[in-house]
């Protein structure tokens, strides 16, 4: 199996102003001291893991709300990353930034320390829905912050948008989408709300206080959304991601094409040297391990060749271009020899218009995306 040779660096910042109602990520409010202490541990981890990959061309600060760290802190981390890893000239360096946490100064500061892409968690452009989601900002603040970011010189901006928020219909979702598109971001992440265990939404759901948007409506929103964004010149390059040509997220693409990535920070996932690792998810344990000078892994899984193969297929199927037999097993014959048990059902999905199968490879159709888990499961 061929693997792209440049890696990505992911850095998790587990802090936010306040937990959103739908959010199941490792994140929570914390004071400035805790944040600084975390940065120190992060730097410790960066040093311990230096040279884990030969070269990286993307760096991604995810969260949480990484924009709760000051430009100095971000700069300090980046400096350490550049010392520990060879970073390609012109690397994509993304910061997840939440509206309501940004100022002209901080934006300028992030730019100065090397951030060249912003990913903003907008989620909706309707104040009522924003409040319902538990967001800390208004739609007006989003407009203001995007404008501020442009003025600070950011030319590569992603805006996240959630659809299928309980109580919404297709027109609500399209309103949100139009309002987001009107801000003319280079990249839009348009994804369906997932009820995750441990969230406030999930508890409401269990208690019968929250009704999910019906699947039919959810899918109408999705397919209508794809159409709208396509008409506006966005390429639908991954299940939930849309970009103007040339602005696809290079970092996230690594997850879908089996490139290596070094995950740093609390609970971060890594894939290097055909091993999948997950860091400790408990802040205290994470900190203590690093204080002792130990790597903070909670899980290490040595991928077999078969693991790599099936992961390559199911992550690859998330992409518009799908997977090529050549990249995975060298040839169509070899591919179907290896996955022969999946073939009869794959043929059925093909006949049903859910999967395209050519002599080059496989890709999901737009309808196929709706039931993609079932198709992907054929290959695990």
């Amino acid at each position: 199996m061929t693997t792209p040779n440049k890696a990505g660096i992911y850095i998790h910042i587990p802090f936010c102003v306040k937990k959103c109602n739908y959010c199941a990520f490792l994140s929570g409010p914390a004071g400035p001291e805790v944040r600084q202490e975390y940065v120190n541990h992060l730097i410790e981890e960066i040093r311990l893991r230096s040279r884990e990959v030969p070269e990286a061309d993307t760096i991604y600060f995810g969260g949480g709300t990484p924009s709760l760290l000051t430009p100095e802190q971000i700069g300090h981390i980046l400096e350490e990353v550049r010392k520990a890893f060879r970073i390609t000239e012109g690397a994509e360096v993304t910061l997840e930034a939440n509206p309501g946490t940004l100022t002209e100064e901080s934006l300028a500061g992030y730019g100065n320390v090397g951030i060249n892409r912003l990913s903003m968690g907008v989620q909706s452009m309707d104040d009522r829905r924003l409040r319902y989601l538990g967001r800390i900002h208004t739609a007006e603040e989003v407009r203001r912050d995007v404008k501020m970011a442009r003025e600070a010189g950011f030319h590569n901006i992603n805006l996240d948008l959630i659809f299928a928020i309980p109580g919404t219909d297709v027109s609500d979702a399209m309103e949100d989408l139009e309002a987001i598109a009107a801000l003319e971001p280079e990249h839009i992440s348009f994804y369906s709300l997932q009820l995750e265990e441990g969230t406030s939404f999930f508890r409401d759901f269990e208690a019968g206080k929250l009704r999910e948007v019906p699947d039919e409506t959810d899918r109408k929103m999705y397919h209508r959304g794809i159409q709208v964004l396509r008409e506006k010149g966005y390429r639908h390059y991954e299940i939930s991601n849309f970009a103007r040509p040339g602005y696809e997220s290079r970092h996230n693409s690594k997850y879908w094409n089996m490139a290596e990535y070094v995950g740093l920070g609390l609970g971060a996932s890594s894939y290097t040297g055909h091993r999948r690792m997950v860091n400790e998810t408990d802040l205290k344990a994470y900190s203590e391990m690093l204080d002792r000078g130990e790597l903070a892994f909670m899980e290490v899984h040595e991928n077999s060749e078969g693991d790599d193969m099936s992961e390559a297929v199911f992550t690859g199927l998330r992409r518009e271009e799908g997977v090529r037999y050549r990249d995975i097993l060298g040839s169509e014959e070899a591919f179907w020899e290896y996955f022969r048990e999946a073939l009869p059902e794959a043929r059925e999905y093909e006949a049903g218009g859910f999967l395209e199968m050519t002599d080059e490879g496989l890709r999901l159709t737009e309808r196929g995306i709706d039931i993609s888990n079932g198709i992907m499961a054929l290959f695990v």
């Binding site: 992911y10 998790h12 990520f25 995810g62 992440s189 994804y191 369906s192 997932q194 699947d215 039919e216 959810d218 899918r219 299940i239 939930s240 690594k254 997850y255 879908w256 990535y261 995950g263 971060a268 996932s269 890594s270 894939y271 999948r276 997950v278 899980e299 899984h301 693991d307 099936s310 992961e311 199911f314 992550t315 998330r318 059925e348 049903g352 859910f354 995306i369 709706d370 039931i371 993609s372 888990n373 079932g374 992907m376 499961a377 054929l378 695990v380």
Partner: protein, 602 residues
């Protein structure tokens, strides 16, 4: 007969998770038989399924040595009891083998139903009861309230109940001291005629059936000829001994003692729990009271799942039967599922356990059909047929009447729940025959109720409506005529015989709707619409549709967490393997049991 005063035969009675097994572990550890480091957790529950569900099905017996404060050495025989209404009879026989019982009450929870049911069984056997309060290591322990409950609800003195923590070992010594003081030594005449109670038996491939027994009078040794009084058969004893645990042979077993007897018996069905052992040549005049024959109350079909071999199932069922007197089976076939077996069980839990053992111990992939009771069908020509499988119900035109088994159900409950129990029983076609205040707060309700209503989810419903406080016991009474019809389920217009059931005519509509709604949730999306219909005869009485559309996509793949996503897909694939194809429709195997699950929204 001096040796008797240094023996104590006792059981531990506890609600499911109040710590019976942990306490047993601690006792075994304290009395030095098993080194701590060799302790598996919950030593007595030795089947995986028991361990997982925290229930005990097959009994374990242990002989412990304890040196008490008075300087005397005591032999403590701990006799385990199973923990479910399906096995009430087995529980009562275990208790009959004891002279006392340790009642474990969770000091954080207080008295609960199961405890109560078993306490009453123990009182029926005139056992001395030693209450102890467990989980005293927890901050939430409320010993005073728990004591009060024991006194109010059960009516036994709990003032001096030892406070223990089975988990940490706290208070165990004190408890053991109390145990030898409170629980009386056994009585009996070692020189009298042999009288021993079988309270459990299991099949060992080297020794044949191993009988667990409590000797009440006389003694038994290797070479004796013994008779099992209820089956009437005689055998030569090949070995006797104590369970320490693990079998340790001894010269003899005599009055007051607990141990095992082997006599080349081939099937456990021949050494049924509750039977009396005596000498063939010098029998005792009458057997111990309380013997009942094993009787299957619930039947269901067991079929090989996709790719499983029929012969494998047969082999496994035969092996299970050797060790389970209450389990029966015979071949049958189904249009939907092919060749399989109709199996008879004591109750629903017994059924679950057997099915799980087939899957786990034997690695088999099986499908079970809706459980059913046995109906008596009186044909127009006057002949009678016993129907175990709803599919075999003859054409209504040829039937004169159908009769169903009625049980006498005794429900014991705190008085606050009488109202909701009455509502429940009424909705299950129950007929109250008696109501009695046992104490100011405890009531005994007696109902005649169709067995069919009891087997599905009655016990769950009862527990849920009484916060677990009510206890249930039932026994077969008689067959009575009832207006019953066959309810069929159709998937994509085809009758799936394995889903057919016999239901009261007036409930057919509600039941049909309920099953359709449940199937709608369970059956996955297909590439076409799947109609689910319920029908009585030709008439469709309920309908649902599985839309050809259901979202099944992970919207976002966060932060490269591929492992989690992969696990999800693996789970999905595993689920798919367990699908059963009916024509063009795929049905998950759990559908067969899922449609029965208790649902309090009914």
């Amino acid at each position: 007969m001096d040796y008797l005063k240094n023996i104590r035969n006792f059981s531990i009675i506890a609600h499911i998770d109040h710590g019976k097994s942990t306490l047993a572990d601690r006792l075994i550890e304290k009395t030095g038989l098993v080194q701590s480091r060799d302790m598996k957790e919950q030593y007595l529950d030795n089947m995986d399924i028991e361990r997982e569900r925290g229930i005990t099905i097959k009994l374990q017996t242990t002989r412990l040595h304890y040196k008490a404060g008075d300087g005397e050495e005591y032999i403590l025989n701990l006799i385990d009891t199973p923990g479910h209404v399906d096995f009430n009879y087995e529980v009562s026989r275990s208790l009959a083998a004891c002279d006392g019982a340790v009642l474990v009450v969770d000091a954080t929870q207080g008295v609960e139903a199961q405890t109560l049911g078993n306490v009453y069984l123990a009182l029926d056997e005139d056992l001395e009861i030693l209450p102890v309060l467990n989980k005293m290591d927890l901050d939430s322990a409320r010993p005073d309230e728990a004591k009060e409950e024991i006194e109010d609800i059960i009516g036994i003195d709990a003032e001096d109940a030892p406070l223990i923590s089975a988990k940490t070992g706290m208070g165990i010594d004190d408890m053991l001291e109390k145990l030898v003081q409170v629980i009386p030594p056994p009585q009996g005449d070692p020189n009298g005629r042999l009288k021993g109670l079988i309270f459990d038996s299991y099949y060992d491939s080297y020794k044949g059936v191993v009988i667990y027994t409590r000797i009440f009078d006389g003694s038994v040794k290797k070479g004796d000829f013994i008779q099992l009084m209820n089956t009437g058969k005689s055998y030569e004893v090949t070995e006797v001994g104590y369970c320490i645990p693990g079998m340790v042979p001894s010269k003899e077993l005599k009055a007051g003692e607990v141990g095992y007897v082997c006599a080349s018996i081939k099937r456990v069905a021949d050494a049924r729990v509750g039977d009396t052992i005596t000498h063939t040549d010098k029998p005792t005049d009458k057997p111990l009271k309380g013997y009942k024959k094993a009787q299957s109350m619930v039947y269901c079909g067991v079929y090989p799942a996709e790719g499983e071999k029929y012969e494998n199932i047969k082999d496994a069922l035969e092996k299970l039967q050797v060790n389970d007197a209450a389990f029966q089976f015979e071949p049958e076939n189904s249009a939907a599922l092919g060749f399989g077996y109709r199996c008879g069980f004591l109750g629903l839990l017994h059924m679950d356990v057997i099915v799980e053992r087939l899957e786990r111990e034997f690695g088999l992939d099986v499908i079970t059909t809706l459980p059913s009771v046995i109906y008596k069908v009186i044909m127009a020509d006057g002949t009678e047929r016993m129907i175990q499988n709803p599919t075999n119900l003859p054409d209504p035109a040829e039937i004169s009447r159908i009769e169903e088994p009625i049980v006498k159900a005794e429900i014991m409950t705190p008085k606050d729940y009488v109202g909701s129990i009455m509502t429940l029983c009424q909705s299950r076609r129950g007929n109250m025959t008696h109501m009695e205040y046992l104490t100011e707060t405890r009531v005994l309700l007696t109902y005649d109720i169709p067995l069919n209503e009891v087997i599905y989810d009655f016990f769950d419903a009862l527990k849920s409506r009484t916060r677990g406080y009510a206890s249930l016991d039932y026994e077969f009474q008689e067959y009575r005529p009832a207006k019953l019809v066959k309810l069929d389920i159709l998937l994509n217009k085809e009758v799936i015989d394995a889903f057919s059931s016999i239901v009261p005519e007036e409930e057919a509509y509600a039941k049909g709707r309920n099953i359709c709604a449940k199937l709608k949730k369970i059956i996955p999306m297909h590439q076409f619409e799947v109609p689910i219909q319920a029908a009585v005869g030709r008439k469709i009485i309920a309908r649902e549709t599985v839309r050809a559309y259901r979202k099944d996509v992970i919207a976002k793949c966060y932060g490269g967490d591929i492992s989690r996503k992969k696990k999800l897909l693996e789970k999905q694939k595993e689920g798919k393997k367990r699908m059963r194809q009916f024509g063009t429709v795929e049905v998950p195997q759990e559908a067969f049991t899922e449609v029965l699950k208790f649902d309090d929204t009914e």
